[in-house]
């Protein structure tokens, strides 16, 4: 929290007139500093707010008293009474304002709590997270290995302290939470961290202590720090959590601390443990890690400086060959945590502001119409000696009531919107679960916005009151035939249409982007495919020799059930992208170094015979892998088209050979490409990753953790049947869950869908407001031009002519507004671009779609008044006109 007084209050105090503003603000800053020191920041902030409101009130009162207003309470009551006499106006205006103020408050609440509120770490701007963008291998998120971590920790002066977290984020581990063993084992997400992770972040525990550097030593006691959620879930927030035993993958850990609510890095972590004591040496070299670095910037250093120093390190150190062709990506922690959510929320906040603007334009228009209707009455009052300030006071009083009602309604609308929308937000959105209903800060925004609305709404009637000439009002009461009174309202229609088009066009763009995502061809048949998650107790290279046979037996057993057509084990989970299970292939004629330097990194997929048939993934050329591809036979692989393109551009892949390194394959061991499969969007939805398919029996180190089941429809008790089959064939395996593959492919769509939902609601609201606004303007125009229409019709104009004249005018204004709206979308294009897939922000069809939507609404809104005008009886109009 900043040491300064509340910024919103300071902003409000800027309204004070000179020269007093300076003295008062100085005094209040002084008083705030004093109170903060003696009574604490909370009381001081409260005091500052009270003072702000009181001071603004006192100045306003003095200002009005100077101008002859003597009767505030009377004026306030009078405003309420005069509003109550036009209930229609009151209801429409205050509801419209409530919608506008509510939208802004709701969007501000979410934006403030998710984006602006500081993370539970010390000085978050000083924390950066680093990984690499491997340009040569086209990997956007290439981790640091042990050597790289050590080199950066020692050789980058711009970083004061460095720790590391797993590059793939938190990972699942089988855990026993209750000591008595009655509770079943459950899966928790753990993050083994390297170095002084909590020290780098400056994160304080909610209970107990965090991990210390001395916990991260080989042979140290195994201790664990748990998340607030796990503490709540498993210990009911009891203090007996400290020193409790938490068993992670059969190793007992002592719980030493609990992190505060909202501390969620790496994402979804339940347990943080020190990496070294739990490190399993699988003979992969010094300490095999794939890590993202977390660093605290040295005083005065920047993220760019860190990136430059790491790059220099790569150049200087011969051991950094693995990073040849890689560029370090150094990003502030807050950006890593929020990702593109910031942009989405900014966009939605913009949408909320638009709704408010529309609401204000609408209500200002209604107030204007009301003032016009009462022009004669105002003239009478002026003639009777009411001062202009008195009349202005009346207008202010009415506006204040509208603002108060709108603000109150807005607070409810905001609370309701958050209550409904936040639970709909996909789980993948960071920090969204922390959002609570509007708090004091959001309500302060509501109040300030409402006050601004009140001032805005007062301006127009006040101007009228000042212009009102008593003689004119009493003498020449409105018998003009073709008054130009309606014409000034054209601007309102244009503004409304422009705002509505912006919202509608952005909504259409997001919708098209979402449809594009939906329309992506996954490359294999996703329907009727169920993915079962297994818990495999073996690590890489620890498999029993008959593991492939056991998987086959499980498959055969399941395929005997009616409704299950085919079963095939799989290695990687869906949507893993470039963050795991990848390798550097070696091509014939390449040395190891050349391969590391030059080759792209495909994903592994380790398969059993029948894989391509079960997934209905077409093999375009050559053959699929079969039961003949066993150990001892010629070693073969199938590559997908993306891998073929990347490894042998423009050449024939069939018959080519590739190898692998290190623990994966012996030197001189080769696999021959016998087939080319179609690209499948299994690893990533937005791009087609290169994939190499190996037969499990020829590279039997991989703990395949998934089963894909092709079913003919819903299978009753599927999970139980899978459990039975797995238990019967390999009791060491456990079944975690089963879900449709479609659900996995839908997960990346959850965010765009949510954005479309919220923006859709805002767009519909703006369209509705635009409709009401256009209707109001056109109805008023028709009323004021009734005599003119009567004359026209008497002179021979047909009803159709009158109707089309009015409709034409409305649509022309709306179209002009639409043009402005479209122009306003373009500057935000760069911002939008990152949220769109397969559609450009300037996509003419989407923009046109937005304009057409608004024109349609305008047409409907104009139709009723135009129809009314067309039905006028000229004789009657002229008699009473």
């Amino acid at each position: 929290m900043s040491e300064r007084a509340p910024w919103l209050a300071r902003l409000a105090l800027r309204l004070l007139p000179r020269p007093h503003g300076e003295y008062v603000r100085g005094d209040l800053e002084e008083g705030y500093a004093e109170r903060r020191a003696t009574r604490g920041p909370f009381r001081a902030r409260l005091w500052f707010w009270r003072q702000t409101v009181g001071t603004l009130g006192a100045f306003l009162r003095a200002w009005a008293l100077d101008r002859g207003a003597r009767d505030w309470p009377v004026g306030i009551v009078k405003g309420a009474r005069s509003l109550a006499r036009s209930p229609g106006f009151l209801v429409i205006s205050s509801t419209t304002l409530a919608l506008g103020i509510g939208s802004v408050t709701a969007m501000f609440t979410v934006f403030e709590q998710v984006v602006l509120r500081p993370l539970p770490v010390q000085d978050q701007d000083g924390v950066v997270v680093a990984w690499n963008h491997h340009i040569v291998r086209d990997i956007s998120h290439y981790p640091f290995l042990w050597g790289g971590y050590r080199a950066v920790a020692e050789g980058v002066p711009a970083l004061e302290k460095v720790a590391a977290v797993p590059s793939a984020g938190s990972s699942e581990v089988l855990a026993r939470v209750a000591e008595n063993g009655h509770a079943p084992d459950e899966l928790l997400r753990q993050s083994p961290v390297l170095g002084d992770f909590f020290g780098v972040l400056g994160a304080k525990p909610a209970l107990g202590r965090t991990l210390r550097p001395e916990d991260d030593r080989a042979g140290a006691e195994r201790v664990a720090v748990i998340s607030y959620d796990l503490w709540t879930r498993a210990w009911g927030q009891g203090s007996d959590v400290l020193n409790a035993v938490l068993t992670l993958a059969d190793e007992a850990h002592r719980v030493v601390g609990v992190m505060p609510r909202g501390f969620d890095f790496p994402r979804h972590t339940d347990v943080w443990v020190a990496m070294r004591p739990s490190y399993v040496d699988r003979g992969l070299g010094d300490l095999y890690i794939e890590a993202d670095l977390v660093g605290r910037l040295a005083a005065g250093a920047s993220a760019d400086q860190v990136a430059a120093e790491i790059t220099a390190l790569y150049r200087a150190d011969a051991e950094m060959a693995a990073y040849e062709g890689a560029v370090p990506v150094v990003t502030p922690l807050a950006v890593v945590i929020l990702g593109d959510l910031r942009t989405t929320l900014l966009l939605l906040f913009g949408g909320g502001v638009l709704v408010l603007l529309m609401a204000c334009v609408n209500v200002a228009n209604l107030v204007g119409v009301r003032a016009a209707d009462r022009e004669a009455w105002v003239g009478v009052r002026r003639a009777l000696g009411a001062s202009r300030w008195r009349l202005a006071g009346d207008a202010l009083s009415e506006a204040a009531w509208l603002g108060a009602l709108g603000g109150l309604g807005g607070a409810f609308v905001a609370a309701a919107a958050i209550f409904v929308l936040v639970p709909l937000a996909p789980e993948s959105l960071p920090r969204m679960a922390l959002v609570t209903p509007p708090d004091t800060r959001a309500l302060a925004v509501t109040i300030v916005v409402s006050a601004a609305v009140v001032l805005l709404l007062t301006v127009l009637p006040v101007l009228r009151a000042f212009r009102a000439d008593p003689a004119l009002a009493l003498g020449g009461g409105g018998r003009a035939v073709a008054g130009r009174r309606g014409s000034g309202k054209g601007g309102v229609v244009v503004a409304q249409a422009a705002l509505a088009v912006w919202c509608a066009a952005v909504g259409v763009l997001l919708l098209r982007s979402l449809l594009n995502l939906h329309a992506l061809d996954p490359g294999f048949r996703v329907d009727d495919l169920v993915l079962v998650d297994l818990i495999v107790p073996y690590g890489f290279g620890e498999l029993p020799a008959d593991f492939p046979d056991r998987l086959d037996a499980i498959g055969a057993r399941l395929e005997r059930h009616p409704g299950v057509e085919a079963v095939t084990p799989m290695l990687g989970p869906p949507m893993i992208g470039d963050r795991g299970w990848m390798f550097v292939p070696r091509l014939e004629g390449q040395t190891q170094d050349e391969a590391i330097d030059a080759n792209p990194m495909p994903n592994w997929e380790i398969v059993q015979p029948g894989y391509f048939e079960a997934l209905e993934l077409p093999v375009r050329r050559g053959r699929p892998l079969t039961s003949a591809d066993v150990a001892g036979a010629r070693q073969v692989v199938v590559v997908n088209e993306a891998a073929a393109r990347a490894l042998w551009p423009g050449e024939e892949p069939l018959g080519r050979r590739l190898g692998a390194f290190g623990q994966f394959a012996a030197d001189g061991e080769w696999w021959t490409v016998v087939g080319v499969a179609a690209d499948a969007r299994y690893q990533s939805l937005l791009e087609t990753r290169p994939v190499v398919y190996f037969p499990l029996r020829q590279i039997a180190h991989f703990p395949l953790g998934h089963l894909a089941l092709r079913v003919t429809g819903p299978v009753p008790d599927l999970l139980t049947r899978v459990r039975d089959a797995v238990g019967a064939e390999d009791p060491s395996l456990r079944v975690k869950s089963a879900s449709s593959l479609q659900a996995h492919l839908d997960a990346p769509l959850a965010r765009p869908r949510f954005a479309v939902l919220v923006l859709g609601v805002l767009a519909v609201t703006t369209l509705l407001l635009a409709g009401i606004g256009v209707y109001g303007v056109m109805a008023a125009a028709v009323r004021s031009r009734t005599p003119e229409m009567g004359v026209r019709m008497a002179c021979g104009a047909s009803p159709g002519h009158v109707r089309s004249r009015l409709l034409g005018r409305g649509l022309l204004l709306a179209g002009l507004g639409g043009l402005f709206g479209v122009l306003a979308v373009l500057p935000g294009a760069a911002l939008l671009e990152s949220l769109l897939f397969g559609v450009a922000p300037s996509d003419p069809w989407s923009l046109a779609g937005g304009v057409v939507l608004v024109l349609a609404v305008a047409l409907v809104a104009c139709w009723v008044p135009a129809e009314r005008a067309a039905r006028l009886d000229p004789a009657r109009v002229l008699r009473i006109g």
């Binding site: 003295y23 100085g26 009181g54 001071t55 006192a58 100045f59 009162r61």
Partner: protein, 120 residues
């Protein structure tokens, strides 16, 4: 007889009288009133009222220097003018002469007496 002072104006003039000239600016006046009368007053009320008093010639003001804690903003110092002192004496005299000898009565007044108990 001069136009009498309101209660708040009375408090203000006493505060100005009490504070040393180099202490007599908005924040200190506000704090003084708060500390002595137990009444929290807004800075805005203090300034608008002092402005009124200045226009009536009861106080005078001069501009002072800024300090870091004020964000460099200047202070406005007030002092009592002879006219203000006369007003204050008169108002206070009226209050005091009305209150004279009523200390014990004031303490008792408004408290329910035994014989009135049933009627209240």
């Amino acid at each position: 007889m001069r136009r009498s002072l309101g209660e708040f104006e009375l408090l203000l003039l006493f505060a100005v009288l009490r504070l040393a000239p180099e202490e007599c600016y908005g924040a200190r006046i506000t704090r003084e009133i708060e500390a002595r009368s137990g009444r929290e007053v807004s800075a805005g009320a203090v300034y608008t009222a002092l402005d009124r008093l200045q226009r009536r010639g009861l106080v005078a003001s001069r501009e002072g220097e800024g300090t870091p804690v004020r964000g460099g903003r200047r202070k406005k110092y007030y002092r009592l003018e002879p006219e203000g002192a006369a007003h204050l004496r008169e108002s206070w005299g009226r209050v005091r002469s009305m209150a004279e000898g009523l200390g014990a009565e004031l303490e008792r007044a408004g408290r329910p007496a035994i014989d009135e108990g049933g009627q209240r």
